[in-house]
Amino acid sequence: MTQLAFAIRDIRRRPVVFVFFAIQLVVVLLFLPIMAQSTIISSRNIRIAQSMADNRMVFFSQTLGTFFRRSVTPDGGRWLSSALDENLSAYSVVSSIKLREHPDLAVVVGVGSFSDLLHIKDHGNMPAGPVALIGYDVSTLRVGDHVSFGERNMEDILVHQRLPRGTHYMKRGTPQLLDNSLVVLTSAESVLGFFFVGYHHFDEILVNASLIRPSGADLLYFVSGVREMTGVALHPIELNDYSQQHHGGAFYGALFFLIFFAITSAYVLVGIVANIVLLLENHMSEYAIHLLSGACLWHLYARVFSYITLLVGPPLFLASILLRSMYQAPWAQLFSVIPLLGGLVAIIAVVPIIKLRQSDIFLHLRGD
């Protein structure tokens, strides 16, 4: 505790330098993991998109303005249902629905050919009608349970099987993991029956629609049909092209910033080490007084470790709190921050400790 008090005193002697490095640490400790995560996610997105390349999927963007003038009428809803369920190889999802009994569980209602994307085992043995699947990490439900689904018409749906880890689908060009989701496979038409506001969910079905290996005629049929029935002008986007441009661009952008922040982190670490070595050199005569008065070298080491911990700890915990609150980064939990703090302190302390060990500290007692 005494050495901690001395370390706090060291900080109070040069508070500006301390705050300067602490701010730099917050920046690099915040952005380095963000960029690392962005690089990993965009790389995963590219890999997933490549694995789906054979489906030559097409999704749609809306022409600005027309979507806000949309109106999915009963006729429009029926047309969209038949297009997705029967006339085209297509799928869409509704992800805004919550279950009353499991309000925290993400629900993805897949319509049309959605099940084709999931590589489900014994596809042929699936029961007729709506069926539920649970993601790999869902713990609140088990296979064989039933979930109450719907508002206007409630139906108990069987949880038929658990999806393999990492099962995903494409929503408007971006892979979505289903590990923590409940998937309800049904038809677009049945969504009308389940909910009072079925047409509202059709807005979502419309914007999330994707066609699988469409021909030119399929595209024309869907785009012109949607325009006619709802007034929404859709622009088809090929997933394979989009993935190369969007995910590829995101990957290289994230990689660039990852390298930039890695280099910046190295500079910050070198700066901190140099600053601490300078601090030691300035305090050598003080350390000599402590040694003369009965301190051991390990007291001085404890003082250096305390200083570094006070320098690195608050920025690390602040970065962890920000990462958890802003990005829901599960790896930024407190228990994982503590070993990281220990590691960082140890890395920074190496050179200062060697410096202390190799110095003849008592020489600094003499003014001459």
């Binding site: 007084i289 040694l291 003369l292 008065s293 301190a295 051991c296 008592f362 003499r366 003014g367």
Partner: protein, 223 residues
């Protein structure tokens, strides 16, 4: 039995290819309650000898017995404990931490002392030591704001605060004017009268002659 015994002490300092033989085969005995002055020209090894006695520097060869205990056999923590409790050090340049108060400077040996005193007891003892050197009204004054004589008194208070048996003083009056130097020296001699042992390194032959015994050094040897 002597309090400190040195037998054929040697110490060399190496810097690259050159070797300085600082202390060469010095043997000495210092008894409890005596005052010993070590005198000699600059660079003759006086301070190195004092530092060896005070467990600051380790001899390359020879035996050093502190109160009958062989210094070679002391662990680093025991050496540190001796520096805190057995010896009190006073150096020419005071060796004070400039932004610490007189009280904080004098408190340091008690922080590391084997007694593990609480803060209030430490402060009480430091107040007493500062009063003893006439600085009771300067306890909360930063060291940098004190005069040379006052700074050396703080250094003496620090040396005395853990009630050591031996005072090791390296040119304690070297940075002071004549009057302040005289005051400090008289105070050190009073300590010997009170039972402390004083080992004084000095250039000043007048001061050395006022000590009980003089040891003269030349080229690392006692002559």
């Amino acid at each position: 039995m002597s309090l400190i015994t040195g037998l054929s002490l040697h110490k060399d300092f190496r810097r690259g290819p050159s070797v300085t033989h600082a202390v060469r085969g010095v043997s000495l005995e210092i008894h409890r309650g005596e005052s010993v002055a070590i005198v000699g020209a600059s660079g003759c090894g006086k301070t190195t000898l004092l530092n060896m006695i005070g467990l600051i520097t380790t001899p390359d060869s020879g035996e050093l017995l502190i109160a009958g205990q062989n210094a070679k056999q002391l662990l680093s923590t025991q050496r540190a404990a001796h520096r805190s409790k057995f010896f009190g050090y006073i150096v020419q340049d005071f060796a004070l931490i400039e932004d610490y108060t007189a009280l904080e400077n004098a408190e340091i040996p008690l922080i590391y002392g084997p007694e593990r005193l609480g803060r209030s007891e430490r402060r009480r003892r430091v107040q007493a030591a500062l009063s003893r050197v006439g600085l009771e009204d300067k306890t909360h004054q930063q060291a940098r704001r004190l005069s040379g004589g006052q700074r050396q008194r703080v250094a003496i208070a620090r040396a005395l605060v853990s009630d050591p048996q031996v005072i090791l003083a390296d040119e304690p009056t070297g940075s002071l004017d004549a009057q302040a130097g005289e005051d400090i020296f008289r105070f050190l001699i009073e300590l010997v009268g009170a039972g402390k042992t004083l080992v004084l390194v000095t250039h000043n032959l007048d001061l050395a002659e006022r000590c009980g015994r003089q040891l003269r050094m030349r080229d690392g040897k006692l002559v």
